[in-house]
C-alpha cells in the first residue's frame, strides 16, 4: 500500500462530486482525498498496487488536469 500525491485542478465541491464516481470505481485505490485549501489542490490516494497511472487516467477522464508529484 502506497500513498501517492498528485497536483490537480479539482478546486471546489462540485469538482469533487464529478471525480467521486470515477475514483471510487477504481479497484486498486482504497482512500482518496483532495486538499482544497492547498494552492496545488493536492489529491492524496492510497493505492494497493503500483498502478499509479490508473488514477491519472480516471481523473483525466472526468475532465480534470492531474500530475503526479514526485
Amino acid at each position: 500500500m502506497t500513498i501517492v500525491k498528485y497536483k490537480t485542478n479539482i478546486h471546489c465541491g462540485s469538482c469533487i462530486k464529478s471525480v467521486t464516481p470515477v475514483l471510487n470505481n477504481l479497484d486498486n485505490i482504497d482512500l482518496w482525498k483532495v486538499d482544497l485549501e492547498h494552492d496545488d489542490k493536492i489529491l492524496e490516494v492510497t493505492i494497493d498496487d503500483e498502478d499509479k497511472n490508473s488514477v491519472v487516467e480516471a481523473v483525466k477522464s472526468a475532465g480534470f488536469e492531474i500530475e503526479e508529484i514526485q
Binding site: 469533487i16 483532495v34 482544497l36
Partner: protein
Amino acid sequence: MKEEYKVAGMTCASCAISIESYLKPQEGVIDIAVNYPNQSVTISYDENIIPLETIGNKVKEIGFKLILGTKEDTKKEFEALEAKRLATLKKKLIFAAIFSVPIFIMSMFLMGKIPYENWIMMALALPVLFYSGAEFYTIAWKRLKSFSTNMDTLVALSTGIAFLFSVFNTVNPQYFLSKGLVPHVYFESAVIIITLILLGRFFEEKAKSKTSSAIKKLMGLKPKKVTAIRNGEEKVISYDEILKGELIILKPGDKIPVDGKVKKGTSFIDESMISGEPIPVEKMKGSNVFAGTINQKGSLRIIATKIGDETLLSQIIRLVEEAQSSKPTIQKLADKIAGIFVPIVIGLAVVTFVLWYFLGPDPSITYALLTPITVLIIACPCALGLATPTALMVGIGKGAQQGILIKDAQALETAYKIDTLILDKTGTITEGKPKVTDLIWDKNAVSTELEKVVFAIESESEHPIAEAIVAHLKTIDTESVPIDSFTSITGLGAEATYKNELYRIGNESLMIQKEITIPTQLSVKANSLKSEAKTVVYVAHKNTVVGIIAVADKVKETTLAAIEKLQQMGIEIHMLTGDNEQTAKAIANKVGIKNYQANVMPADKGAFVKELQAQGKVVAMAGDGINDSHALAQADVGIAMGSGTDIAMESAGITLMHSDLKQISKAIQLSKATMKTIKQNLFWAFIYNLIAIPIAAGALYPINGFLLNPMIAGAAMSMSSISVLSNSLRLKNKNIN
C-alpha cells in the same frame, strides 16, 4: 402538454365520467383520461389556449379538486385530503348512528308511549339528513341534471320523500285524519338507511387507505441517515443526498440504502425480500447489493450504482402502486340493481299518480299524492342496503374465527371464482428457515464426541448455516467443549483445533482444497442429499470426513394435503421462487406441483400474474415476503402468510394466521357461502318490494277497495330487513372445511 394529476373528491366511477365529459369539450383540451381507482387524471392540453389554473377551476366547478404541483407535493397534499375525507366520513357516520338509534327504538318499541313523539323524532332526524346525509342529495341532484341514477339517487329519493312526508304528517296530521287515513311517519327508515350506507362507505374508504400504508412501509425500508465517505472523510448524510458513485459504509444491522457494488469487506446480507432465499447471502468485493436488504454481519463499503427511483426497491414500490391502482373495482351489485330499479320505481310512482288523479274517487288529489308516496317509501332500499354488508360482515367474522383474516371485502367477493393459484416457495410452501434435516456420522466415528466439537466450532462461526446447525444440536441437548483455536475460511467453512487435533467443517470445495478423503459411503449419501436440494456440510477430523450434515428449508407438514385438496377442487397450481432450478424442482416434485419457475425476480412474479389474468384466469397469489408484494397486489385475490412480512400482509386482501395452506381452500369455501348468502339476501330484499309496491300503488283497490295501510307497509319493510339479517346470520353456523 400531457400531464398526470391527482384528483380529490371522486367517490364513484361515474364521478370520473362526469369530469371527463365536462373537460373534454373545453377549448384547448386535446385528450383526457380519468383513472378512478388511482384518483388521477391524465390531461393533454394546449397551455396557450387553456392554462392549467383554468382546468383546475373547471374541475372545481363540478365539485372536485385537481391537485397541482410537483409529484412529491401532490402526493402529500392528496394523502392529507384523503385522510381528511376519511375523518369527515367517520364523523358523519358517528353522528348519524347517535341520532338514529333513539329514533329506531322509539318507532319500533315505544310507539304511542311518548308525548310529542313525532316531533322528537323529527328533531333527531334533522341532523342525520342535513349533515350526515347531505352528500346523497347533492350527488343525486348533480346526477339528475345529467339524467342518470345510482344508489345515491335511490337513497336521496326514498329518504327525502320519507322525511318530507313524515314532516307533513307531524306538522299537519289533521289533513289525512280528516279523510279517514292514518298520518304515519317514516323517520326511522330515512335515518337508518343513511346510517347503514355511510357505514358501508366507511369500510370501503378504510380498505382504500390501507393501500397507501403498504407503500409507506416499503418506503420505510430506506434508511434515513447514511454514512458516506466524501473527499476522504466519513460524513453522515441523509438518504436524499446520496450521489451516484458515492462510497457508503455499512455496519452490521444497517439497511442498505441504494443498489451498489461491494468495494471492501465481507458480510452476509439478508436478501429474502428480493430473492425469497431464506439463507443470508455472502457478499465480498465485487458483489452486488440491493436497496432495502439488510446487512447482517461484518462491515462493508459499497459504491452506489443506482440511487433513488432507479433501485430495485423503488421499482417494487412502483409496481405495487400500479398493481393496486389498476385493479378494476367491481361494480357493486346493489348499485347495478339500483340503476334499473330507480327508474322503474319512479315510473310506477308517476303512473300511480296519473291513474289516481284521473280515475280515482274523491278526493282524487289526496289519493293521487298519498299512493305514489307510499310506493316510493316501500321501495326504500333498507334491506337492499343491508344485503351485502351483513353477509360480508358475518363472512369476515367467520373467517377470523378460523384464522383467516379478510381485510378487503372484495377478496371475499372474488375468492370463489379462483381457478389458478400461484404459490411462492419459501415461507409459503416451506417453513422459510433453514433447518438441519439429516445428521449422518461415519460408522466408525464416535458421534456424541464429534457432536460436541461441531457444536463448539459452529457456535464460533458467523455463517447462517452454522446457526441452523447450532440450533439443531441444542435441541438434542449437545454440550459444548472448549476449543483451542478457531479460524474462519471465507466462502469455504472453518477450522479449529481441540485437544491438539485438527477439525474442519465446511463445503465440498474446502474438503477438496485441503485434500481430505471422503469415504465412499458418505460421498454417496451426500450426493443423494444434494439431489434433494439440500445444502451439505462436511465434518472432517484430521484428514478424513467423519460426518455430513444436511441443511434445508423444510416443506410445511400440511402443504402436501392442502395442495392435493386444491387440485381436487379444480384449481391449477403454479410455484414461483427466486431460488435455483434444482431446489425449485425438488420442492415442486415433493409437493406434487407440475408448473414451477425458478430464479424468478419480484417484478417477474407480478408479470406472471398479469399474464395469467390476460388469459382470462382468476388468479390468487399466496406469499409472505416483500418480493411477493407486487404479485399479491396484482392478483385478483392476494393471500399473505401471517408469519410473513407486514408489507405482504398489507398488500394482500387475505391473511392466513396459521400460515397453513389448508386455509386457502377454506377461504374459497367461505367466499362461496358468503356470495350465496348475498344473492339470497337480494332475493329477500326484493320479494317484499315486488309484492308490496303494486299493493301500495292501489292495485287491489278496484277489486276489494283495499289500500295499503302504512303500518303494513312499515311491517313489510321491517320483515324484509329481518329476513336479510337472519339469512346472513345463518352463515355463521355453516360448516366450512
